[in-house]
């Protein structure tokens, strides 16, 4: 059945919604592990070569004294992804257990998750800019590490997971069931 206005497909509920949510979520969590273990940035200067992980980057920013920026990176790269994993898992779990509690809060949570998830991409963009900009032959070069790829994938997978969730499922338990 198709919408007569925008011709998009219509279905009352996406029956496979939760399956897709879990599948993308698990993929996102798996990709998040190498993103934190392997280096995000490979820096080589005249004197030494160094590799920097996500957490390493945050610590370095703290050493420079840029606390604000360190907070932004920490929130975007660690807190938002982890918070998102937990939030999506909770939303899916609550629907599966036919919970009728906290519907308004759960709906808010879904809105927040949907809105905030994209912001985790900050670190991938930081790596892209740094490695494009810092190509100064012998003096200093920065190159992207493998973690940039897996982190980007993790963010994309979690976004797909959030998009697969059908928020209408939250409200299905509200009214007491009436039998005909």
């Amino acid at each position: 059945m198709r919408c007569k206005r925008c011709h998009g497909p219509i279905r009352s509920r996406d029956t496979e919604s939760l399956q897709k949510v879990w599948a993308w979520l698990i993929a996102g969590i798996i990709a998040f592990i190498p993103a934190n273990i392997y280096p995000m940035l490979l820096t080589s200067t005249l004197l030494d070569r160094s590799e920097q992980t996500i957490i390493g980057g945050v610590i370095e920013l703290l050493h420079y004294g840029s606390y604000g920026i360190a907070t932004i990176v920490f929130v975007a790269s660690i807190m938002i992804p982890v918070g998102k994993f937990i939030a999506i898992a909770y939303l899916a779990w609550a629907v599966q257990h036919r919970s009728s509690r906290n519907q308004h809060q759960r709906h808010k949570l879904y809105d927040v998750v949907e809105f905030i998830g994209r912001w985790s991409m900050i670190d991938v963009f930081v790596v892209a800019i740094l490695s494009a900009l810092v190509q100064l032959n012998a003096v200093a070069t920065i190159n992207p590490g493998i973690a940039a790829l897996s982190f980007g994938l993790s963010v994309i997978f979690t976004m797909l997971s959030a998009l697969a969730f059908d928020p209408r499922l939250i409200w299905d338990e509200e009214e007491p069931v009436r039998h005909d």
């Binding site: 059945m1 007569k4 206005r5 925008c6 011709h7 998009g8 219509i10 279905r11 009352s12 509920r13 029956t15 496979e16 200067t45 370095e60 920013l61 840029s66 920026i69 932004i72 990176v73 975007a76 709906h107 809105d111 949907e114 998830g117 994209r118 912001w119 991409m121 900050i122 670190d123 991938v124 963009f125 930081v126 892209a128 800019i129 740094l130 490695s131 494009a132 900009l133 810092v134 190509q135 100064l136 032959n137 003096v139 200093a140 992207p144 493998i146 940039a148 790829l149 980007g152 976004m159 998009l163 928020p167 209408r168 939250i170 409200w171 299905d172 338990e173 009214e175 069931v177 005909d180």
Partner: protein, 228 residues
């Protein structure tokens, strides 16, 4: 399970609505896109907005000049996007070595070996998708503003603008640039190029345009004009 599927839990609610009163014409009903609550549309005062009674998201806003504003902002954003791509973005200078970066070369940074998928994704997120959204919006709404009939495919184009929204990440890219600038000031001197400011303006315009965009208004306008 293919096709339309009504759960046993919401079927009674729909029937009660059908039985208790005659259903208003479909065009006068608004279903909340988030929680499915049905609302009956009423005329809104100028500048007013209507929220869903259950989950509280904004359903309809009314401004008479919304369409004109949307299209003109989108045109401005396309022009800025061209500037942001072609002018130098940032210059770096350290120990006599300089390097000039454009947005394109930020993308190409990933394009060797294993970085290719990231390069493609970054290109999509910061240039291709934002640009596609803007052009689709102009294509769909532009003719309405000029008083013409909508072009074929206008509906598909507008539906696409909506669906691509979470994937267009120009504003996130700008925050990334800010972080990168802080990280780099320890190593080298950075000069900001004209494309940087074009991009900043572009991001502000896009955010503002998304805020005022009322999809309901656009769909209504598309419906009214294609009926004549």
């Amino acid at each position: 399970m293919p096709g339309v599927h009504l759960t046993s839990r919401n079927r009674p609610a729909v029937q009660t609505l059908l039985e208790s009163m005659s259903l208003p014409p479909l065009d006068d009903l608004i279903a909340c896109p988030h929680c499915d609550t049905l609302h009956i549309e009423r005329e809104l005062p100028e500048g007013g907005s209507a929220r869903c009674v259950r989950c509280g998201i904004v359903l309809v806003t009314r401004r008479s000049d919304a369409l004109v504003q949307m299209v003109s902002l989108a045109c401005a954003a396309v022009i800025l996007m061209m500037a942001a791509i072609s002018f130098p973005f940032l210059d770096i200078n350290a120990a006599g070595f300089t390097n000039e970066t454009s947005v394109l070369s930020a993308i190409m940074a990933f394009s060797s070996g294993k970085g290719v998928p990231v390069a493609i994704a970054v290109a999509l997120f910061i240039i291709v998708l934002p640009l596609t959204r803007l052009l689709a919006l102009i294509y769909a709404v532009g003719p309405l503003v000029l008083g013409h009939k909508p072009r074929p495919g206008a509906r598909i184009a507008f539906a696409m603008t909506e669906q691509l929204r979470p994937w267009a990440m120009a504003e996130i890219f700008m925050v990334g640039v800010a972080v990168a600038l802080v990280k780099i000031t320890g190593i080298a001197q950075v000069t900001i190029g004209p494309a940087f400011w074009a991009f900043v303006t572009l991001v502000i315009i896009t955010i503002f345009n998304d805020r005022i965009m009322s999809r309901y208004t656009v769909w209504k306008a598309l419906d009214l004009t294609s009926r004549d």
